[in-house]
């Protein structure tokens, strides 16, 4: 499947991109992360500590075991600091 993958805050800085289009066979967010980590060191650096990350699938906060079926957009970011 084709996904829009978005990165925010220091995740964006470590990867060097705000967003990219990804072709993936992953069934869950965790599977997608594994695929991304396999690419290059900068992805390993961004995903080094999953406890420091949060994920949204189609703009809804989800867990890392969330399924990707029918998803169009996945975003990775640190815990939010709004307000």
């Amino acid at each position: 499947m084709t996904l829009n993958v978005l990165y925010f805050a220091w995740v964006r800085e470590r990867i060097g991109l705000p967003r990219e289009t990804v072709e993936t066979g992953a069934e869950t967010v965790a599977g997608l992360i594994d695929e991304l980590r396999d690419r290059e060191e900068r992805y390993v650096a961004a995903f080094a500590d999953l406890s420091a990350l949060r994920v949204a699938v189609d703009q809804e906060l989800r867990d890392f075991d969330a399924p990707l079926a029918q998803a169009r957009e996945v975003a990775f970011f640190p815990p939010m600091t709004g307000g």
């Binding site: 978005l6 925010f8 949204a56 703009q59 906060l61 640190p78 815990p79 939010m80 709004g82 307000g83």
Partner: protein
């Protein structure tokens, strides 16, 4: 229940006046305003607020909708800026209108607790000695459990 996410400054007085105007059945309006505060040692050049366009408006609207199911609210207003802000600038505001003050206060408190941890903004402090991302506070996450 208007939700605005914008880079432009807003006039808190004008917004509150407009929010209060013309209400016949709301006896209470409560507002909260967030302001950029300097670092403990001073020297903050600016705060850069990043956000997730689309999800921000949606997340704040969901929080406002949840507040409206829990309390007898006549209306909610939320405005949150993004982009570079300097010390003393107004970052955001929420306003709640209810027949009585208990609901207006509680809803505003709830909105702020949720906006802190569930609205997709990320803050970066920029100073002469470098820039650093503000870390989410455990207290803010823990605050959600009281609702």
């Amino acid at each position: 229940m208007p939700v605005r996410v914008q880079s432009e400054p807003f006039d808190i007085g004008a917004e509150v006046s407009a929010f209060c105007a013309g209400r016949h059945d709301m006896g209470a309006v409560v507002t909260f305003t967030g302001i950029v505060r300097d670092r403990a040692g001073g020297g903050l050049d600016r705060m850069e607020i990043e956000h997730y366009p689309g999800m921000t408006e949606r997340a704040i609207a969901q929080i406002a909708d949840e507040a409206a199911t829990r309390w007898a609210l006549g209306d909610v207003l939320a405005i949150h800026r993004h982009g570079p802000l300097t010390v003393g600038e107004t970052i955001m505001m929420v306003a709640t209108a209810a027949p009585h003050r208990g609901d207006a206060f509680a809803a505003a408190d709830f909105l702020m607790d949720y906006l802190k941890s569930r609205a997709p903004f990320w803050k970066k402090e920029v100073a002469a000695d470098g820039a650093s991302w503000v870390a989410a506070r455990e207290d803010d996450e823990a605050a959600l459990t009281r609702w």
